[in-house]
């Protein structure tokens, strides 16, 4: 995770946000804040309420109750003023397929609340690597290209707050890397605030400075990614030559308290990072050959733990 230039100015503040569809509660009393200049990761399993929340943040869905303030103004009362300063991708990138990428952006530019020059359209197309295909109809684009175009339209009017819902879906590894770099560039160099929803948890770990995990429509946890990572022990996978022998010596030692499970020639332990070396030394001293040690503590592990726990 990289350091960010967060300041204390709240750009986005959500209080008690709730959305009900009959008896179904899609979002339940959600609370979150986003600060100027940060990349905030918005995580949750499928059906957690991420997309509903993002739609409410953009005025596409009306909340049942609660408040949304963006740039210190109520979204309900100042939607048009606020949207001039917000760029977004909501779920999959859909465009007018019978129009070219350029024409799509031209249309969106005309209703962005400010004058968008041709130069700017070309500029954003170049940023996302679509300049050469600008005049092709969008129906000829691959999903990845449409995703890039989605990012282009979100950046078109140079917004202060950019809401990105799964922006790397459908991109090839190089494309994912480029978009990550672009998000970091937008945040660090251009001081944009990025609200990033993603199911690729590694992406949040790499890009985001803070994160919010939601499940069943409610905030499970909110905080700095680094702090959240350090708040739990990591799991470490030891690959050994003789599982039975290794299990025997572990069970007779203090490491038995850390032991989680065994699977073929893998032993999994839960421990702090400083203990990894000690356990490795212990196994080797007991004539067990350790061929690999893989720490699996990560945001993904943490995320899974939180969401699984909350659904039980």
């Amino acid at each position: 995770m990289e350091e960010t230039n967060i300041n204390s100015e709240i750009i986005l503040q959500v209080k008690g946000l709730t959305k009900k569809y009959g008896s179904l509660i899609a979002v339940n009393n959600l609370e979150l804040n986003a600060y100027r200049g940060e990349v905030i990761g918005f995580l949750g399993p499928n059906g957690a309420g991420k997309s509903t929340t993002i739609r409410m943040l953009l005025g596409l869905i009306k909340p049942t109750s609660g408040s949304i303030e963006i740039f210190g103004k109520s979204l309900l009362k100042n939607r048009l003023d606020i949207l001039k300063r917000v760029g977004a991708i909501v779920e999959k990138p859909d465009f007018y397929l019978y129009l070219s990428a350029y024409k799509n952006l031209e249309i969106l530019g005309k209703i962005s609340g400010m004058e968008i020059k041709k130069k700017r359209i070309k500029e954003v197309l170049e940023i996302v690597g679509l300049k050469k295909r600008a005049r092709s109809k969008v129906q000829t684009y691959s999903f990845g290209m449409k995703q890039r175009l989605g990012i282009a339209q979100a950046l078109l009017h140079n917004p202060e707050l950019i809401i990105l819902d799964e922006p790397t879906t459908g991109l090839d590894p190089q494309g994912i890397k480029e978009i990550r770099e672009l998000i970091l560039h937008l945040s660090y160099d251009l001081k944009k605030t990025i609200f990033l929803s993603s199911h690729i948890l590694k992406e949040i770990e790499i890009i985001a400075s803070r994160m919010i995990i939601i499940n069943n429509g409610t905030t499970q946890i909110e905080g700095k990614v680094e702090d959240l990572l350090n708040s739990s022990q990591m799991k470490v996978r030891f690959e050994v030559d003789n599982t039975a022998k290794a299990l025997e010596v572990v069970k007779l030692s203090m490491w038995n308290d850390n032991f989680v499970e065994a699977e073929k020639n893998i032993l999994v332990f839960e421990m702090d990072q400083v203990e990894i070396g000690e356990l490795n030394k212990f196994l080797v001293e007991n004539n067990i050959i350790v061929s690999s040690v893989v720490p699996i503590r990560s945001l993904e592990d943490y995320f899974l733990k939180i969401t699984e726990g909350s659904t039980e």
Partner: protein, 278 residues
């Protein structure tokens, strides 16, 4: 607002389905004109056979005006279905394509969005009917020349050459109003669903149901018939009688305009409350 209207027009005229209506009108007009070019005399003598004992018909009766009238009469019942191709897709097409999301996350009000759709739809309706007038009346005059227009309704009306064109213009104006009513209803249905087929079928169902109710001679239905917009859609024919029944035309005008405004405001109210889930 001006930008939004141009955007909506550009969307309409960049879709292939928009041109189906123009092609259909061109083909049907051409077929009617070709048929009448070769067998117009037979048609005319058949149409006037009951009157030939009492009247003597002379001059160029098979002229462009008669052709224009025949085509208008034949097509006016079918144009609603052509209007639906575009009207039904105006909002539902955005839902199907997922493009509500990119449009409505821009700083535009939903009210303006709907109004621009309506205005663009009305422009399309106008252009379609102007095209039909040019094809039927314009080509008719070029091919068949001019002359007096004979129209047989409850009785025989003969209109002098210099007393015809204005009647066509007003009739087309009235047909545009009728078709705008159909368009408005299809946009209303279009705001409720996420697939363009639904509004097309629903509007057709309403039109056909209203036409059936209008045709039934059941006393209990008589009280509602004057309020059915389909009952007033053929009121353009009132411009081809003498003297013109102004009160009937004004009544039809008011009913159609009332329907348009009702459908428009209902669409605005529904759409402003709509959650965009597509």
């Amino acid at each position: 607002m001006k930008n939004l209207i141009f955007i909506e027009l550009s969307k309409i005229f960049n879709k292939k389905r928009t041109y189906i209506s123009f092609i259909v009108i061109f083909l049907i007009s051409s077929i009617i004109q070709t048929a009448l070019y070769f067998q117009g005399d037979k048609y005319l003598s058949f149409a006037t056979r009951s009157l030939s004992n009492s009247f003597e018909f002379s001059g160029n009766l098979l002229n462009g005006y008669l052709i224009g009238f025949i085509i208008l009469q034949s097509l006016s019942a079918y144009i609603p279905f052509l209007i639906l191709l575009v009207g039904g897709d105006l909002l539902a097409g955005e839902a199907t394509g997922g493009t509500y999301r990119i449009m409505l996350t821009r700083p535009i009000s939903r009210n303006n969005f709907i109004t621009a759709k309506f205005i663009a739809g009305i422009v399309y309706t106008n252009l379609l009917l102007i095209f039909m007038m040019l094809i039927s009346l314009g080509f008719g005059i070029m091919i068949f020349g001019t002359g007096e227009l004979i129209v047989f309704r409850d009785k025989l009306y003969v209109f002098a050459q210099d007393d015809i064109i204005w009647r066509f213009f007003l009739s087309y104006g009235f047909v545009i109003l009728s078709m705008t009513t159909v368009l408005s209803l299809s946009i209303l249905f279009s705001s409720l669903v996420e697939n363009a087929i639904g509004p097309i079928i629903s509007t057709m169902f309403v039109i056909i149901t209203f036409l059936i109710i209008s045709a039934l001679n059941i006393e209990v239905l008589d009280s509602i018939k004057p309020f059915l917009f389909t009952n007033h859609m053929s009121s353009w024919r009132n411009f081809f009688v003498n003297p013109i029944d102004i009160s009937q035309i004004l009544l039809s005008f008011s009913v159609l305009l009332g329907h348009i405004l009702f459908f428009y405001f209902l669409t605005v109210i529904i759409f402003k409350r709509k959650d965009i889930l597509s």
